[in-house]
Symmetry: C2
Subunit: 501 residues, 2 copies
């Protein structure tokens, strides 16, 4: 079983997620089955984020997934963003419903009428709620498992604050949690920044984002977002409180979400031609023990028993381990099988290893082989897993950084994007000029790449989109005299462009 | 704020769940908002059951919530059970879908086609999956928050086994877990048994159940069910494996589910005229500390500071505690507030208590008051919480047992049911005779209760329904000569009847 991630990324991705038993396809387009091998990764992410949210006082709850059209339509900008993708229930059994009801694409319009009734006084603030749930966006772009699906799992946080500062602080706290989930758990490096006016969330004052990058496809990917909604929804839904002077106060609101897309990003970045490569902290299985059989059955039995002893060491060290006791498969078959599934460590255990009271440990990420004495397993394996975790992130960061280019004039822009890079430019930050970049880059890139240069590229995906204004690059004021790469006006910020998912 | 649980149960229930901030109403009938105060109880239940399921090898996953009508309709008995309640999506944005798609009322028909593709050999068995999700049943009976809602949260387990014995064993393991969640966490006693042919799950070979009882309304309530599906779905969906002789094997399947209804049952049983009474193991807050202010502000500040010290003792003991530091409310107001919310323990802390280095502890369930020295809090409070937990279950069990009657002839049956009891009878176990019981009891009870004797009783709810054949009463063979209470034929089993939700 050999795939070529480089040569045919789309087929590689489909193969690797199905053969590793992460995903199964389903007979409704855009819907996929999350099998235990991927769902368990989601459970690790949930545990991590849930603890972070609770640590700052956010509480979990559950709102209905249905919403009337009247409420859905109340915030116009928001509606525009979601209306074409909304799924409508119109019948129950054989009977038509009196009014069609929508399935949540996100829950602002579901939750905020309740906020209105709960918030009376400034003492009722902040309200900080989160729910883990499914949402439905009936998109017509090509679906991709994990990355763009019609139903997906996420958490959505919705909060209301007495002050803009309180809300703004939380927006950034949450963005840090999200970056932590990607970097610390999934070993995927993130760029934190702010979305442009054009790309911000429908109905928000501003959107902060973490952006990933898939080197194999040369595309950026929005990894998670944390929005400050200002008083927009508050005004639409009539939410107000009395402040301590008896004055009317419209709360400042945030919403923020993190989805199962994260699993797809992790797979795309770390997987290789042998299959998945899972970061240890989220791997359902961190180490698999393979007993190497000999011709004598009794001897083989002893080797299998020794495998269980080794497993006991692992369990004492808190490592998620398993012995592959199956007698019908050869060690070679098992190596391939567990490599495909991305298990971080393989422990080979043969008669010679047992004589030497050691086990041969093979890293999935580097294929490096190390002999470790039984007595050292408890200390060395946890350290090795942490090393792998760290090195996976470092390698991914290095590879990502190699794909970032600074461009200051339009003439270099499109070819750098078409080369599969992200491009950082000085920008005048005007929405019309962002439109210009999109349109022009689409036209020019089609000339470079050819109309059917890459089978899975729609016209949209060839166009450069702004990913974010990275915080890191915008900490200092622009150097005076810096000009926007496209308009030639004075530049207001550094902005990152790329093709994107 | 005084309610009368006895006099007007329906209003009491609505008041208590809304004023305690468990539930908020929503503008779509049958849909409710689960606020943090109830959702946190669900999180405790989830943690408990999830660990139990994993301990026997069940893995979590997530299947799409949409299903085509073709698949939904494949198992006819099953379809009949759910068809009238299915919600259909027919549009996305402004466009009609090519085919309407259903929202899961339960996921047998969604999951089992995947089982077909995953199960090839007996070595692929057992398959044991679970998902935590929402489901939709667009019922037309009167909705009741938690108890009967159009969207609700649950877990659904779906498993396939090589042998009937393996499947049957699991059915009972799961039923024990479910009974444990009710009895150990929610302090609600359960009767375990088997459903009659008439009441079993649509498409199952047999259904095991745990049944609760609400003394205030004299009604039984199905608390959770664990079904053995036999080979019914396997045949319909073409699931088969090769056994070790190369013969075709159709797996034996189970499905089992536990819902947010459980929270409603707990509230109905333990709540009183002051509000909720929460069992300590699931209470979001187990103890609230109320500083008693004095006229002098500095003194009052010291009392509040002492409250924080007491809280530290609680936290060291692993107790979920909080100090109510609000200065705008009187202690009396706070007592009522936290009683309404059902917090198991109130710790009153005044100047005299501080002099004596003690705190006055008040039990929510009995109103018993105990003084406990600061130095004893760490040991005595956890023990007290466990005592409360145990005694709540014991009291509920005693009250429930008082409402079980044995009846051997029809003439005693209806009036005992109408008295608000469950009735245990010898029964011939024929489905036609169960219909007779339902019809006749409805007619006779209407005569007793009057057509509008109780405002919230529909004709259906007055009719006696079989709840289950309790395992405990059917361990021994029937005594020879025992006759069925309704048909006069030889009795085959003891069965429990009641009005029900």
């Amino acid at each position: 079983m050999v795939w070529a991630k480089k040569e045919n990324f789309a087929d590689w991705y489909t193969d690797v997620i199905t053969k590793s038993q992460m995903i199964d396809y389903y007979d409704i387009s855009g819907c996929y089955i999350l099998r235990p091998w991927s769902y368990e990764i989601w459970e690790h992410i949930q545990a991590y984020l849930d603890a972070k949210f609770k640590s700052i006082g956010v509480k979990n709850c559950y709102f209905p997934m249905f919403v009337t059209s009247e409420k859905l339509n109340r915030e116009k900008d928001h509606l525009e963003g979601f209306a074409p993708e909304v799924a409508w229930v119109t019948k129950s059994g054989d009977a038509d419903l009196k009014e069609p009801i929508a399935i949540r694409p996100t829950s602002e319009t579901i939750m905020y009428p309740a906020f209105k009734s709960w918030i009376r006084s400034h003492r009722d603030l902040p309200v900080r709620l989160n729910q883990w749930c499914n949402v439905v966006r009936w998109e017509f772009k090509n679906p991709t498992p994990f990355i763009r699906t019609r139903e997906f799992l996420w958490q959505e946080g919705h909060t209301a604050h007495a002050t803009k500062e309180g809300a703004a602080k939380e927006v950034m706290q949450i963005l840090e949690f999200y970056a932590g989930a990607y970097e610390e758990l999934l070993a995927v490096p993130m760029i934190k920044g702010k979305k442009s006016e054009k790309e911000k969330f429908a109905g928000a004052d501003y959107t902060t984002t973490i952006e990933g990058f898939i080197p194999s496809t040369g595309r950026g990917i929005q990894a998670a977002t944390s929005h400050h909604l200002g008083q927009n929804f508050g005004k639409m839904f009539g939410i107000s409180a009395e402040d301590d002077q008896g004055q009317k106060l419209i709360p400042y609101q945030n919403s923020w979400g993190f989805t199962t897309r994260s699993i797809g990003v992790m797979i795309m970045i770390h997987g290789d031609d042998k299959g998945l490569v899972l970061p240890p902290r989220v791997a359902p299985l961190q180490a698999v023990i393979i007993p190497i059989p000999v011709t004598d059955k009794d001897e083989t039995d002893k080797i299998h028993d020794k495998g269980d002893e080794v497993l006991a060491y692992l369990q004492e060290a808190g490592i998620r381990g398993e012995v592959d006791h199956r007698r019908l498969y050869t060690p070679g078959w098992k190596y391939n099988h567990w490599e495909l599934k991305g298990v971080p460590l393989r422990l080979e255990l043969g008669p010679k290893d047992i004589l030497k009271q050691q086990v041969r440990v093979v890293r999935r990420d580097t294929n490096e082989k190390i002999d470790i004495a039984f007595t050292d397993l408890k200390t060395k394996l946890p350290a090795l897993l942490e090393t792998i975790q760290k090195e996976m992130l470092e390698r991914a960061r290095k590879e990502r950084d190699n794909c970032i280019r600074i461009v200051t004039q339009w003439s270099d822009f499109v070819k750098t994007i078409a080369d599969g890079c992200m491009v950082l430019t000085p920008f005048c930050n005007e929405i019309e000029w962002e439109e210009v970049v999109k349109t022009r880059s689409r036209e020019e890139s089609l000339a470079i790449l050819g109309e059917d240069g890459e089978a899975d590229n729609t016209a949209t995906s060839v166009a450069a989109k702004s990913l974010c204004m990275p915080f890191e690059n915008n900490e200092m004021p622009m150097e005076p005299g810096t000009k926007c790469f496209v308009s030639g006006k004075d530049a207001k910020c550094w902005i990152l462009w790329g093709r994107s998912y």
